[in-house]
């Protein structure tokens, strides 16, 4: 992979070679790269489904694919993107790689479990892939009963099983992180010296551990109902399909925070490094991560305002939903305030961070719309919701993920990426994203329902705009893929600390040695104390 100069220093990439050294590795850094390869595959798989969806929607009459195929496309887009890309994205790659290094540990607390988690994701992914290749699944990623249990004639069982297995990957990763943060911190690394990325991943892990088992058992019940017709959610036996929705969203709403909290952690790092200032309101950002994780569990019923849920439950869930808006807004304000009087660099990761704040702000503010009962009745299950959650999950999570990938690429691979191309890609993605999804807000308020294969003519112009944006976006996503691979061979060698950053991960070499540090670190400073770092950077040049 990396040019093997004969007298190169030993690091985690060249310490051993061969397929076996990767597939049986217990090194969290190598496992992170295994995850990276896996989720990249699923990202492009999900992305190609999205491309087909957008091309199909160019015309209102549904000429490209049949309605069955279309339904399978959006289902598999959702399944691939949510369960096999977004949920593992930042925690399992950047988190896996950097969380132990950031706290000064040699590895996670349970390295074998970590490897097992990856295998579980792969096995789950294979089940889902099998379902996709064998004929697909058409229930929507939400698997609402009784359609999924009784009426769908597609590969529901294989897909459900895949998600069930992948769920354990998520649970075990979360468990591993929590124990690691509690038990493996280096001397002097107190809770309030932890980088905010660690706080964010810690909060994420809480959700993974507390939420994921519920979706697991729900999917298991769905599985039993489909196979044995035992009817836990079957209205014919007196069961209640809305109960399924409760259990499903008990996990799936917090799952949104599994996707976006680590993204927020990345942004906290980026904003600080590239304005060379400690994060404004460190404790507020740290605690708001935990607050989001906790409050995120109290709001799931806002997906059910028109489902037949009682009116009073709707009131409770709407009320609680607004509480989760507060910690999110605290974060945005604190990031913005961090820029004040900073020394702001326009490096690529910072451009992604700006993009994140902008898009997350729009996504978050439109969240206030859909949490308002009166408006949600109109916009739920329309493109308004589709646009809203893509602003959070794509505009938020993927922007941060790419920002983080650029930021950490030199550390992970020892190579710099080409700066000009990277800046261009950030710009293309930002513009493409907005062109794709902003028209969908308008479509949604106009009443365009989601998951529609054919649609009334008057929606076409906005759909065409959205598709145009999607093609720009696709180019934007392919660019980093290409130049990252290119940089592995041709990129400049990266110094240990190319950005003048403060974390322990920048005190060790690029790429890090097998046990992360040549010398065990002892922490003596707060996070983000740039006065200790900047002179060194200047020497490095």
């Amino acid at each position: 992979m990396i040019t093997a100069a004969v007298h190169e220093r030993e690091h985690y990439l060249n310490a051993s070679y061969g397929i076996k050294s990767w597939l049986l590795t217990k090194d969290h850094k190598r496992i992170a790269l295994l995850y990276l390869a896996t989720i990249t595959l699923f990202f492009f798989l999900g992305g190609s489904f999205a491309t087909l969806i957008r091309i199909e929607l160019l015309t209102p009459t549904g000429g490209l694919v049949s309605s069955e195929t279309y339904n399978k496309l959006f289902t598999m887009h959702g399944v691939a993107m949510i369960f096999f890309f977004l949920i593992p994205s930042i925690p399992a790659t950047l988190g896996n790689f950097f969380l132990p290094i950031m706290i000064g540990a040699r590895d996670l607390a349970f390295p074998k479990l970590n490897l097992l988690s990856w295998y579980l994701l792969v096995i789950g992914g294979l089940f889902s892939l099998f379902a996709m290749l064998a004929g697909g699944v058409d229930t929507g990623w939400t698997f609402y009963t009784p359609y999924s249990t009784t009426y769908s004639n597609s590969y529901v069982i294989a897909t459900a099983l895949g998600i069930f297995i992948a769920g354990f990957s998520s649970i075990l990763t979360g468990l591993n992180f929590i124990v690691t943060v509690h038990r493996m911190r280096a001397p002097g690394m107190t809770w309030f010296r932890l980088p905010l990325f660690v706080w964010a991943n810690y909060a994420t892990s809480l959700i993974q551990v507390l939420g994921t088992p519920v979706i697991a058992v729900t999917i298991l019940l769905l599985f039993c109902e489909r196979v044995f017709h035992i009817g836990i959610f079957d209205p014919a036996l007196g069961g209640d399909p809305v109960l399924f929705q409760h259990l499903f969203w008990f996990y799936s709403h917090p799952a949104v925070y599994i996707m976006v909290l680590p993204a927020m952690g990345v942004i906290s790092e980026l904003i600080s490094v590239y304005s060379r200032k400690p994060v404004f309101g460190y404790k507020f950002i740290a605690f708001s991560s935990v607050a989001i994780a906790v409050l995120g569990f109290l709001v799931w019923g806002h997906h059910l305002f028109v489902s037949g849920q009682s009116l009073y439950a709707g009131l409770v869930f709407s009320f609680l939903s607004y509480f989760v808006a507060i910690p999110s807004s605290i974060k945005v304000f604190n990031w913005t305030a961090t820029l004040y009087k900073g020394s702001i660099s326009y490096a690529t990761p910072m451009l992604y961070a700006f993009g994140f704040i902008g898009l997350f702000t729009i996504g978050g503010l439109t969240g206030l719309f859909v949490a308002a009962l009166g408006i949600d009745v109109h916009v739920t299950d329309t493109y308004f919701v589709v646009a809203h959650f893509h602003y959070i999950m794509v505009g938020g999570t993927i922007m941060a993920y790419l920002g983080g990938m650029h930021y950490y690429w030199p550390k992970m691979t020892g190579r710099m990426y080409p700066e000009a191309w990277a800046k261009l890609s950030a710009l293309v993605i930002f513009l493409g994203f907005n062109l794709t999804f902003f028209p969908q807000f308008l479509l949604g308020y106009l009443g365009m329902p989601r998951r529609y294969h054919v649609y009334p003519d008057e929606f076409q112009v906005l759909h065409v705009l959205s598709t145009a944006g999607a093609s720009v976006l696709a180019v934007g996503y392919l660019m980093p893929m290409i130049y990252f691979v290119w940089s592995l061979r041709f990129g400049q060698m990266a110094p240990a600390n190319p950005w003048g950053a403060t974390g322990l991960e920048w005190k060790t070499a690029s790429p890090p040695p097998v046990h992360n540090f040549d010398e065990a670190p002892i922490v003596t400073h707060e996070a983000y104390d740039y006065s200790t770092v900047i002179p060194e950077v200047i020497e490095v040049g």
Partner: protein
């Protein structure tokens, strides 16, 4: 934890208590207590759970963090049950079917 080694007597006493409570809960179920029957059943089960976790699982001697983890888990179970019931228990209050 290694430091605390409970006596066999303690464990035996706990076992006896657990077995008697099992008998009690079975007996109570046949008594005409009406709605109180569920309360009794769950109350006894909770006491048994406490006995098992405090003694057999050494929660008595565990550190604060472990206790916090257990409390947190139970709290989350509570969230799941209570908020789910907030729907099912208030259905029909408006007198409009489905609201």
């Amino acid at each position: 934890m290694t430091g605390h080694i409970d006596s066999i007597k303690t464990y035996l006493a706990v076992l006896l208590a657990l077995l008697s409570l099992t008998g009690l809960t079975t007996w109570v179920a046949y008594q005409p207590l009406g709605a109180f029957s569920v309360v009794a059943a769950l109350g006894i089960a909770t006491v048994k759970m406490l006995l098992v976790s405090l003694f057999f699982m050494h929660l008595r001697h565990s550190n604060q963090l472990t206790k916090l983890v257990v409390l947190g888990g139970l709290m989350w179970l509570g969230i799941l049950l209570v908020l789910t019931l907030s729907d099912f228990a208030t259905r029909g209050w408006t007198g409009v079917p489905g609201k």
